[in-house]
């Protein structure tokens, strides 16, 4: 667990018996776990296990069929995504969802949406209030870009950036909302080993410097086992394990899930070399 000062407003997250159905398909089935404030908490599992679905529930994109999610004493389930965003929950998407024609700074400025107030009239008329706000928040967003190694690409349209850079913009945009809870969906997918190591370092720095909670969905076992305080394992929508990285790697059901689904590596072995290079 982190040794740094926790932000006072960072609350525990409780996922309580959550079920999500798509017709006959049970994408999540009575899943419960909790995430300590200030933790780096990983959610892992084979493809289609329901990890992104869990993130969609946490950010309000999907409605639960049953169950409840609480962030401190606020109930998240039943709220709209933008209402959840206002509570300080931010997310970097697995499938990049940036505005390709807009620059890095412009994309990050979208993250400032909940922190700013300029409306159609004040922005359209360039009122001083709106311009000052824009200037202040642009400066902050540039710092965040710098932190994510995007400092020399501030004014490049994100559509022309490399895949790895776009992933970094995703993370930077989520960070730009100054979140209390950061959801990262496969932040190192498509990155090489060195980039992955740097991103792992960045995630730890985010947690340590800001004292916020990070939930990480990732297939790269090396990264997960290296930085997570706690790991929850999903398989076919069910929670099959929850514990420290060591406990989870020794769990027979986890090993079975990874072997049984046609994967030739178990999480422990995968941890040794990382799985990012397996598929192009």
């Amino acid at each position: 667990m982190s040794t740094t000062q926790l932000r006072k407003d960072v609350r525990p997250l409780t996922i309580d018996n959550v079920t999500v159905r798509f017709g006959a398909l049970l994408a999540l089935s009575e899943v419960s776990f909790s995430v300590e404030p200030g933790a780096v908490h990983a959610v892992i599992g084979p493809n289609g296990a329901g990890k992104s679905t869990m993130f969609n529930v946490l950010s309000g994109v999907y409605e639960v069929s049953e169950g409840e999610v609480r962030f401190g004493d606020e109930v998240l389930t039943g709220r709209k995504p933008h209402q959840i965003a206002r509570l300080g929950v931010a997310r970097a998407f697995q499938n990049i969802a940036l505005s390709g024609s807009q620059t890095v700074v412009q994309n990050l400025m979208l993250g400032r949406h909940r922190l700013t107030t300029a409306g159609f009239v004040s922005a359209g008329l360039r009122l001083p209030k709106a311009r000052n706000e824009e200037k202040r928040h642009t400066a902050r967003v540039c710092e965040i870009a710098e932190f994510l190694e995007l400092g020399n690409k501030l004014h490049v349209p994100v559509g022309v950036l490399s895949y790895g850079d776009q992933k970094r913009v995703e993370v930077a945009r989520a960070l730009s909302t100054e979140p209390r809870l950061l959801l990262l969906d496969e932040p190192v997918a498509g990155m090489n080993a060195e980039e992955t190591a740097r991103m792992a370092q960045t995630v730890l720095e985010i947690r340590d410097a800001l004292g916020i909670t990070v939930i990480l969905v990732e297939h790269d076992m090396g990264m997960v086992m290296g930085i997570a305080d706690r790991v929850t394992v999903l398989d076919f929508g069910r929670r099959i394990a929850d514990g420290t990285p060591d406990e989870v790697q020794a769990d027979p059901e986890v090993i079975r899930a990874y072997l049984g689904s046609g994967d030739e590596t178990d999480p422990a072995a995968a941890a040794a070399h990382g799985t990012a290079e397996e598929t192009p």
Binding site: P46, N47, S59, G60, V61, K80, P81, H82, A85, A90, R91, F93, Q94, N95, I96, A97, L98, S99, G100, S101, Q102, Q106, M109, L110, H113, R114, T116, A118, G119, F120, A123, G124, R126, A130, E133, E134, K153, L154, H155, V156, P157, V158, G159, V160, Y163, Q166, R173, T177, E186, A189, G190, H219, D220, D263, T275, A276, E277, E278, T279, P280
Partner: protein, 383 residues
């Protein structure tokens, strides 16, 4: 990188300034036909820039633009016009034209607000289909509510004036600049130019700021926008309102440009012409919408004016192709060419012509309007 972006902004500013100077000086040099055409173009630009905010920026298709133009135009003639008519009698408040103009914009906005609960809930093409209904409702109202519209033959639009300075009719007070008398056409030109510049300025400010970014992200990914804190429904409703107010102002200027309003002017064809303008211009950019509007609105007028010297165009009533048909063929063809070869439209073409050797922008791997490699991400997911 930021050096180049300030440099491009500087170049852009200089070009805009030069354009403004030319437009300001033009009435001293060109004949009345071009000034009248120019006024019609300014009106169209305002409408197109507004539609572009909705369709190009936010990705919401609307076929109702003609309806909101009609609301603006009719409100203007009713509020500022006098009662009259012989066969069909119509009413009017006879208020100062500036009141009518503001009322036209406000009423179009109100009509937009009434429709916005629908606009907020529908997406893209579905909104297009739903908005189609408004055009037919508008047509029906125009034809039946004759005390406002004057019925089938329409009614005259009162000339504009501002605090005693007339933009038509009596040409009072007399004004001449550098020996050129400033009559109706000259005055309207400046009125149109001022309103058009204001409308473009407002829209481009919007695009470069918080609401504009939110709208563009709603277009590129509704889910991402909402997760980043954007109230998607609210923004769709608001941009619909803004777009209809732009249409309202365009409608008022349209009435001034033609000098009268008639139901047939506000048919579905007008909505389609506005869509043609923004597609030709390049969805999403203010400058593009302006270029597209200039092309589509001026073409039939110019062809008509020069029909005598153009071999394939005949006077209305004679067998052959009349100017408006020829214009429709031309811009129809232009749209097909644009969609096939330059989806960025006229704005994209302009960008390409002045493109500097900037390596990262030379070969964008994806269309610039979509959230780039959405599919490659799922393919590249390692297990």
């Amino acid at each position: 990188m930021s050096d180049t972006s300030t440099a491009t902004r500087l170049v852009k500013g200089v070009v805009l300034l030069a354009l403004l100077v030319v437009l300001l000086a033009l009435p001293l040099y060109v004949e009345e036909f071009w000034l009248r055409t120019g006024f019609a173009v300014f009106a169209a630009i305002i409408g197109a820039v507004g539609l572009n905010l909705l369709v190009g920026t936010t990705g919401q298709l609307s076929l109702a633009h003609a309806f909101f133009l009609a609301v603006g135009a009719l409100t203007y003639v009713y509020v500022s016009g006098d009662p009259g008519g012989s066969a069909i009698e119509y009413g009017g408040f006879g208020l100062p034209p500036i009141v009518g103009m503001v009322a036209g914009v406000v009423m179009a906005g109100l009509a937009g607000v009434l429709f916005s609960p629908i606009a907020a809930r529908l997406r893209g093409i579905y909104l297009g289909v739903a908005s189609l209904g408004l055009v037919f409702i508008g047509q029906h109202l125009l034809n039946t509510w004759t005390s406002v519209s004057g019925g089938f033959n329409g009614r005259l639009a009162p000339a504009f004036d501002l605090f005693g300075f007339s933009f038509g009719g009596n040409e009072e007070p007399y004004l001449a600049v550098l020996g050129v008398p400033f009559g109706q056409a000259e005055r309207l030109w400046y009125l149109g130019l001022a309103l058009c510049a204001l409308a473009c300025w407002f829209a481009s400010n919007l695009l470069r700021s918080r609401p504009g970014r939110a709208l563009q992200n709603v277009r590129d990914s509704e889910v991402a926008a909402s997760v980043m804190g954007v109230n998607v429904q609210e923004y769709k409703a608001k941009v619909f309102l803004v777009s209809s107010m732009y249409a309202g102002l365009a409608g008022v200027l349209y009435a001034l440009s033609i000098g009268s309003v008639a139901p047939e002017s506000f048919s579905l064809l007008l909505s389609v012409q506005y869509l043609a303008m923004i597609v030709l211009g390049g969805l999403g950019s203010v400058g593009g919408a302006a270029m597209g509007a200039a092309f589509v609105s001026a073409l039939p007028l110019v062809l008509q004016q020069y029909s005598g010297s153009l071999p394939f165009i005949v006077e209305p009533g004679q067998p052959g192709i009349v100017a408006s048909q020829a214009a429709a063929f031309l811009y129809g063809g232009a749209i097909v060419l644009v969609v096939m070869f330059e989806p960025g439209g006229l704005a994209g073409l302009a960008r390409r012509l002045k493109r500097q050797p900037r390596p990262p922008q030379e070969s964008p791997p994806v269309s610039t309007t979509s959230s780039a490699p959405a599919d490659s991400s799922s393919g590249g997911t390692p297990r």
